[in-house]
Symmetry: D3
Subunit: 310 residues, 6 copies
């Protein structure tokens, strides 16, 4: 129960599965699968996010002995959560990637498990949204980001980490009226109907008011939470491809995430952690924390469900 990995490993040792979860491709009875999508071939500037899953897993070993802070329950006790490993693909045939990524995630969902993904660059969210929308219908997108990623691009063959949410709106994967972007601080005149709570909004109104506004927008809709690590300020997340100053602190991000409890999160991801640009390791540490907060948020509304383990 709990799909704990080896009986005991030192924090600094052993196989670095996410949060020391069992590393398995067997999803029978699994409530939630963590999987890595180590793709970075769609970035406009600095690559390296292919090593994001590896670094986030390693950083997570530091938290593996602790009950997540600030939630009042332990999702790793309440649910069967496993590390499903990384998606494998042909790095030399980039055009084939999105369909394979979608199939990878659809396979997890079909097995009855929910999925939280570790990126990879932000373009991978499009495949994730496709798989989730196929199951849940149009989704409320809750996006933490410095960028809107809704730049116009009608060429569906282009794989770009700055345009995929525009494509997601256009193809009906997400409902812009139920969607919200938090931490934005780059210009994009066409928000495609998505509400923007930009970084200055968070700094002025605080995380509690921000979370309240997000909950209001999302309502009862099934929600997909996508956390681009560049939502954080470069001080908190230097290891990313397109950093922008004036971002959120980790304390603000944690408070907003915890403040979302009650929304119907059905899936999510943390993306854009780029280890080669992270010599201090703080970005991977932040990424691992985001992943754990997402797990807590996902599990919060499911704690009392039949089948959950209270």
């Amino acid at each position: 129960k709990g799909h704990r990995g080896l009986a005991y490993e030192n924090a600094f040792a052993g196989v670095t599965s996410f949060m020391r979860r069992s590393l398995t491709k067997d999803l029978a009875g699994v409530d939630l699968a963590i999987t890595g999508i180590p793709f970075d071939q769609a970035v406009t500037n600095r690559p390296g996010t292919r090593f994001g899953p590896r670094a986030i897993r390693e950083a997570s070993t530091l938290q593996a002995f602790d009950v997540p802070y600030g939630w009042g329950y332990n999702p790793f006790d309440a649910f069967d959560i496993v590390d499903y490993g990384d998606m494998a693909f042909d790095y030399a045939s980039v055009a084939e990637f999105p369909a394979r990524a979608e199939a990878h995630v659809a396979g997890i969902l079909k097995a009855g498990a929910a999925c939280i993904a570790l990126g990879g660059d932000h373009s991978v969210s499009l495949a994730l949204l496709r798989a989730h929308a196929a199951k849940h219908g149009p989704l409320a997108l809750v996006q933490f980001d410095a960028h809107t990623d809704t730049w116009a691009d009608d060429d569906m063959a282009r794989i770009d980490h700055g345009t995929m949410f525009g494509k997601a709106v256009k193809t009906g994967l997400i409902d812009p009226a139920r969607s919200v972007q938090i931490g934005i601080r780059t210009d994009n005149p066409d928000t495609m109907g998505i509400t923007v709570l930009d970084a200055p909004f968070v700094h002025e109104h605080g995380p509690a008011a921000t979370a309240a506004r997000v909950r209001e927008i999302v309502g009862e809709a099934p929600a997909y939470v996508s956390f681009d690590i560049d939502a954080l300020d470069p001080a908190f997340a230097p290891g990313t491809g397109t950093p922008v100053w004036g971002g959120l602190s980790s304390a603000q991000a944690a408070a907003v995430l915890r403040g979302l409890r009650g929304i119907d999160m059905v899936g999510g991801d943390v993306v854009e952690v780029s280890p080669p640009y992270d010599p201090t390791g703080v970005t991977a540490i932040a990424g691992a924390h985001v992943a754990v907060e997402l797990i807590c948020l996902w599990g919060w509304t499911r704690r009392g469900e039949t089948g959950a383990k209270p």
Copy 2:
């Protein structure tokens, strides 16, 4: 128009002129020239700011596709802005430097362009102030810094990044009654009549109140805005020579700078970015953002002028 450089360059490629501006020594019709002053021979502790202009230019390429955030206009469309390249000088004849730096900047101003400089250590601001005061008369200094840089030093031949603003007051380049220092958190009992809004002031009162107070002090005077990157906390700007804890966040700095709109900024600089101490690159990223905010601030009051391009 707009003096865009090459037709298209990937963010990660090409010649790294500032914001992809044309790199030229021809100032005909130019409204604003960005120039580097790669001098670091006046520092008390860690050198390296001679590489500041190079690093800030490279970091700026990440913003070159975006309209600056939070201003409501694009100065790169409204004005002719070029990259004038770096000042060249004899590193082995340090005593000759200040006069040459002043002549370099005076040449830009004489050509009818305004100038925003990329340092270099903070000592270069003295040459910049001399050139600007020769044109505009005594200036209101708006200084972001952890240090006052007004330490007493009657030896005008000493070139020191901790004493030049004392010399600037004494020689009438700046009007202390119209000048203000923001972010200070080191002791200097003699402020020489300059108002100090120290870092605790900003933390307690917030950036909006800080900006309002600055505008009040500066009034209608022609203002020179000098941004020592160590105004930011070491978390946000580790790559600098004399870091001090308890500094501003990048979000606070951005909000103060944007809150200054309306002052009559005639010139400015961003200094003390030291790339050898910046393995994560966040300091250069912050420096490039400061430079863009300064450009926006400079252009704000000029948007409607005859000769400006709205």
Copy 3:
């Protein structure tokens, strides 16, 4: 007077004693001795704090020309403060370490000097508490930390940086009713009677309210202030063994420390600075600042005492 070291050293040069204090084993007439405890063999994850004292000393040279900010007095003028050097010990006989560390500190206290220690991992605080409690009786612990370090462990031979404050409560070294932990953001259901002002508390209520609450808890009790650098967010202190997101900013920490003035601080430490994980150096800079703030806090109530040098 003031036990200044060499007559003059450039900030970047010379022997790096703490704040350029005299480096001496002679404590005659000394009010306060700074000593390093370079031990890192009790860490659960990343080692390296054995180099903490060396790095903090080096970082302190940047502040050696300045009067500490925000206190209104200069403790280095008011008191005789020296650098007592590091404790030496047999790294290959770990079990012997705690008794030797306690003896090292007891020797300082017996000579009539107060002691502020530079760690080292947090386990060294147990030896420090023993030596101080032997002199002052049960202490009020003021602990800045991401972790409570009160995990249950009845094996007194284990040397663990996560359990020593539990042992300190059990052995009567500290009075939990007078003790308080600030910045906590990891779970530990058994706080052993110590008040916890967790990181969200500080973020929501601010440093002034936090300091007021701490002073209220501590009251008149002799207080020991232990600052685990991981109380700061990883952005501000990446170079530490067990970083946790959502921590304090350096500005918050400075404000809380300055807000404690008036408590009867009898000793303290700054621990968990791990230079190998600090490529930007900001952690050592923060550590040096914490040490100076602790000195100011220690000296504040003693300024008027007989024997002090006003």
Copy 4:
């Protein structure tokens, strides 16, 4: 003449064109164009070579005042050599890249200039070979590498930095009987007819004997020299995607390159410099040196030609 860039720039300043050459798209009268191919989307392991051209250019500024060592002539005086800038392309349409890269290089060759390219990952050499073979016919490949890069792959749409030389042999771009690989130290049973002088060969026989053997194999054939920086040992070139121990020293590489004088080199490249994995910068420094040696080698046989400038 000589297409020197600005009149004077400090080594640490100014625009970082390769060796301070003029940065121009005008190839009239140009003998040799240096161009960057900042592509890294075909790597099996670590990306980052998209920043290779930028880093090599910057490292080259250190050599810009010197006559290349060990050649007895200065190619920058003898020939018109310019920096043609980087190829621009759509990072989000990877499949289109090879044809565009080939067209980019073909354009240079058609203008009458020779071309030496700065990678980018090694896959870019296929486009370069195509453009050169179209002009010169089947080429002798002189490849410095830890890997043969001749792995079987019949899918011409795959863009892979480990298979392009197999494709080059199969499509007749290179003549294996006239081709040689130097520094190999990974296994590939099928060498496709290319002679392998592996790293142990160089270590045992020395650079002079190695160069003699290469000249013997190449003979009079038009030669393309491709230098994968991982031919060097990781100590000399840590900043690369697929490092292998037991490689060449920089002294060995320099001696072999200088020992090739007399072959009819018609073009070449230096590839696989990955700046994000090069915190010491030595890989970019080595890459800049390789580029200069290639220029010297290219120019050696052309010194006396009509049109050359002796």
Copy 5:
């Protein structure tokens, strides 16, 4: 067969077991188990080797697609080789470590598998020697190192990475007449009967002569090969605790190791890889190569044995 791990993983992705071997505690039918001993509490200077196994595993993924170079056979096909994971232990009870480490290794040997260990600091070799000598009797030690590690120390309770081979000689674990140290370049007048082929010897006589001399000394004795990564020069292995200039190149080390083929190696280790001091990663890469060479050397004489898989 071959105990390959997952069917396919990208080099940059997936669980980083050593050379993608199966990660298992089941040793039935296993010929060789690779295990990590992540202990670093016995070092005289810089710690960090507790992360050695993790870093070596990660670095090994780069070689996982290749047949080891220069051996003419593939041990991963010839034998069942698994990753046995890391030894777990109580970091807070250091004195208990050696016995537990010995039991850990003895368990592997008792199961019928050979063992090659990834350190950890060099002190762990004593536990490894104890377990191996218990099975094989007194061993010939083939030690690559900058240091002899035979310093006198009669206190068997001290756990020191500079004295364990002295203890090994005294307690009869190794036969000094059959033992040899390669690469030494620090002084120790008492070699305890072990032959020293110091670094100058290797530089003057070359790796082939060095290997021949080692084979001569070892003869038919069962040999334990211990490779302290500091045998390599700091250029090739900066990430280690006690680096010394004038060391071996990786090419020399590889050639000596390959030249040892024919000795009866029964076990071995690679130790002293310290990732926090390895920002370029070359030390971990070297460590992974050493481990593979050791596997090849171990397997060489066993290729034809009954039970081996040719």
Copy 6:
């Protein structure tokens, strides 16, 4: 005797005097004083050598327990050797530096001690040569360097790390007929009569032949040995201002230095170690080793003198 510092310090702890020597300004009875000249304001490219003395001292602590290798005697036992600390000077009055540096060294020599200096950039050698030539007359210069540093410059007021040996020849401080440069690999047509044994010479002929040739050139003349760390290849010394590929290995350098035994070395320096460009620390380690080899070389001929301590 031996001027050992504190009784015992851990390698990782304590005040980092050079080789744990006493740190003193009292030269009574001292045979040799080590002093730092932390000046870096004369460099053409990257600064940072002002931190060279600090880093070399710290790196030397690793060797402080060992007898220097390969010499057969211990100079620290044979002579009274102290750490004289760093020269202090006004960084803001660069023109005054050379005279002050010369006076600093002259003071040491006048006190009867010999002097070996830790730079600092190479320009400091001019002041050192002046002080030594004043005492010993024209000197034989033994210079290890990638550059000749004899560029023409008749302006004696310029302080440049590329011209000082030209000035030294012209002003008669060194006798070019008795002088030799080792490791050169940048072009300078005017060697001013000094013999050049360039890097290819060392690689082809080996260190023993190189040392023999140096001894022949120097003969009986009083010799000054100046070791620019960039004589080493960037792999061995990345942390320097003007690295050039193709340099010496540390093993070659050590062998040449040891091979010089018998020359009459009267003084020397190790310069151009630039810590900000040395994230792996190998350059400082190499610098500390060079310093110890220089001490051994200096002491070798003096072992039997009256006054020496055998």
